[in-house]
């Protein structure tokens, strides 16, 4: 899996991420973010996570971008240009600590692609071996999502429902006379 196209996609992902952050025009930023999502979806398809890639393409690149664009249409497009760019030392310092922790911990993480690593063996091998027999579902991701960890999925659907109620509560004022 450690192919050339992985490096290429990772580079593209980082470049688009930087672009989305440093473009002044927020429209361009959001559209660059959509491109970023698509590159991520490609990356994940390449890494074998087809369901995640599909969801990222549909939800990340589609729905999130749509929400961003609607918000931009209703507000303003342009980020304020500030003369003096202040570097926040506190923020940079805490980022340095975080980055150090990430690098410090990374040494003992399993190597990418190692089939003998613990996450690939313990619980997940049960899912791979048994899901067809126990749930009659060839797509193991669906079996785990909807059955073995179906309760998480109920929680996840509830998260979206909570967001729906939340947006209703925050933004709709004039119409709530359903008595």
């Amino acid at each position: 899996m450690m192919l050339f196209d992985d490096y290429l996609l990772l580079a593209l992902v980082i470049v688009t991420a930087l672009g989305a952050v440093f473009v002044r025009d927020l429209f361009s930023g959001v559209l660059t973010l959509a491109a970023y999502s698509f590159f991520l979806a490609l990356l994940w398809a390449g890494l074998g996570a087809v369901d995640v890639a599909f969801t990222e393409a549909v939800v990340g690149a589609g729905l999130s971008t749509l929400f961003f664009l609607v918000a931009l249409f209703l507000t303003s497009h342009q980020e304020e240009i500030r003369k003096q760019f202040k570097v926040q030392m506190m923020a940079l310092g805490s980022l340095g600590i975080l980055g150090f922790l990430l690098l410090f911990g990374s040494v003992d993480l399993p190597v990418v692609g190692d089939p003998e690593s613990l996450p690939s063996k313990h619980v997940s091998s049960h899912y791979l071996k048994k899901s067809l027999e126990e749930t009659d579902t060839p797509n193991v991701v669906t079996a785990v999502l909807a059955d073995y960890r179906g309760f998480d999925t109920l929680g996840e659907t509830t998260v979206i429902f909570t967001a729906g109620i939340a947006c209703w509560m925050l933004l709709r004022r004039s119409d709530d006379s359903a008595t």
Binding site: L101, L102, F104, G105, S106, V107, D108, L109, P110, S117, L118, P119, S120, K121, H122, V123, S124, H126, Y127, D147, Y148, R149, G150, F151, D152, G155, E156, T158, V159, F161, T162, A163, I165, A166, W168, M169, L170, R173, D176, S177, A178, T179
Partner: protein, 489 residues
């Protein structure tokens, strides 16, 4: 022992929360009875659950019928049962209290208010009862989304503070998720009990250390532990009065519970005090938080902001208690969590009632309570005595056990921190009462409303609860010692 009871602990508030908007669509009047009915039955079921735990040991529920490392399980044991009882009862009382306020403050948004409050209760229950790290993250996010919106719904400053809360809260949740990822990478499991068995083999791994640090950091943001409490004062000050009692009494306690569960049950006492000594650090952080929070509270003019800083101080005391490393300290910390849940619900309830009736929001304004609102001012008096730690209120016994625990552990800085923070607390409440009772009344507004019955009743019940918890502290401490203490002390 497997049981279907934890399943009902999830199903009751969840179904009520989803049914409320569907039913409220036809008639808005149904919302409040459904919400209160659900919380009453939730309280009854959780009390039954706790009594079952005391008599028969922990109850577990395997969702989907899959045994733990494969599926997700919920566990009611002494600690989670106790917290579940506290959450369900306190949220019931605070929603009773919110009834008159919400119709005045949030007209036209009654349906989403009740729905979100119940989703919040369901999520807090889920975080308390779950035995799975990722499931905890999902419920953390449901609860967080609900509380961001309940903070921000009043618009203006409240909305801005809610946005900051959202940004910091999302960083906290992401750090937590990242920590879970590190644990998963090292052990291949997400179940807490399974993780507790597998962690000792890889405890020297740097990834486990980093993962634990990320989880503690993420949860510390969520619980508003000093110095990561940046979102807390504004959010508590500007949140609508109908939401603050629920938000301030339970929402920050549950991430604290998650930390306690991970540190003492998944890692175990010996690991977090010797191999990865985070307890030492957190003890000092707690001591500083207790003093600094109380000190900052003295200088606040707004009553709710003063209470917000006193929450920062209380969070420091809990952390101090849990990190003492003795049974008494742990039990005292837990008892103080329960007491503080009641105290914060009472105090913010008083703040809401005062603003509702006579527009009082600053400490000086509280003078108007004196003549017109005997219920509200006596609730204020008793909860303030409890905050300071005067017997026979619950706050006194909480602090007493904390001090005893600190003396047993021979950690004199902790004793000093508890005493100093109590003195500072006494100072700001004394200053408040001096203004309320010693100053002359500016002008009595004859048009002050009669305190609505739900507010009177809920404040009365909370105040009674504070004294009852104090008088029955031996019983509760016995329960804690018997079934809610982790192994390894």
């Amino acid at each position: 022992m497997t049981s279907s009871l934890p399943g009902f602990l999830f199903a009751i508030p969840f179904f009520a929360a989803v049914v409320i908007p569907v039913v409220g669509f036809t008639n808005q009047k149904f919302c409040r009875p459904i919400a209160l009915g659900a919380l009453v039955s939730l309280s009854i079921v959780s009390v039954i659950g706790l009594s079952e735990v005391v008599s028969h040991g922990p109850l577990s529920h395997e969702f989907g019928g899959w045994a733990p490392p494969i599926g997700i399980e919920w566990v009611v044991d002494g600690l989670s049962g106790l917290l579940m009882v506290a959450i369900s009862i306190v949220s019931l009382i605070t929603l009773v209290h919110a009834g008159p306020l919400v119709e005045k403050e949030l007209p036209g948004r009654v349906i989403p208010f009740y729905s979100l409050s119940l989703l919040l209760v369901a999520a807090l229950g889920g975080m308390v009862l779950t035995g799975d790290l990722f499931n905890l993250f999902v419920f953390l996010e449901i609860g967080s989304l609900a509380s961001y919106v309940l903070v921000g719904v009043a618009g203006g400053r409240s909305l801005h503070s809610a946005f900051r809360y959202l940004i910091l809260g999302t960083i906290g949740a992401s750090l937590y998720l990242l920590g879970v990822g590190y644990f998963y990478a090292e052990t291949g499991t997400l179940n807490m009990a399974d993780l507790a068995q597998r962690l000792p083999e890889v405890i020297d791994s740097r990834a486990v250390l980093t993962g634990l640090l990320f989880i503690v950091l993420g949860l510390a943001i969520k619980m508003g532990l000093f110095p990561l409490h940046g979102w807390l004062p504004d959010a508590y000050t500007y949140a609508p009065n109908s939401c603050t009692p629920l938000l301030t009494s339970v929402v920050t306690k549950v991430p604290l519970y998650a930390f306690v569960r991970i540190a003492f049950w998944v890692f175990g006492m010996t690991t977090v005090s010797t191999q990865i000594p985070i307890l030492v650090v957190l003890g000092w952080v707690g001591a500083v938080a207790a003093i600094v929070g109380a000190y900052l509270a003295i200088w606040q003019e707004s009553f709710k902001r003063m209470l917000a800083y006193s929450s920062v101080s209380s969070m420091g005391l809990f952390m101090l208690g849990f990190s003492l490393g003795t049974e008494t300290g742990f039990a005292g910390g837990l008892f103080y969590v329960l007491a503080d849940t009641l105290m914060k619900a009472t105090l913010f309830g008083v703040a809401g009632a005062a603003f509702y009736q006579c527009g009082a929001s600053t400490v000086t304004d509280l003078v108007r309570l004196r003549e017109n609102m005997p219920w509200v001012s006596s609730a204020l008096l008793i909860s303030a005595l409890s905050m300071v730690g005067i017997p026979p209120t619950a706050g006194f016994f909480g602090k007493w056990h904390l001090v005893v625990g600190a003396l047993e552990a021979e950690k004199y800085f902790a004793v000093a921190a508890i005493l100093v923070s109590s003195m500072l607390t006494a100072l700001y409440f004394f200053r408040m009462f001096q203004r309320v009772w010693a100053e002359t009344l500016p002008l009595v507004d004859p048009h002050v409303l009669e305190t609505p019955f739900p507010i009177k009743m809920s404040l009365g019940v909370l105040t009674f609860g504070l004294i009852a918890l104090g008088l029955g502290s031996d019983l509760v401490m016995g329960l804690i010692f018997e079934s809610a203490i982790p192994k390894g002390f």
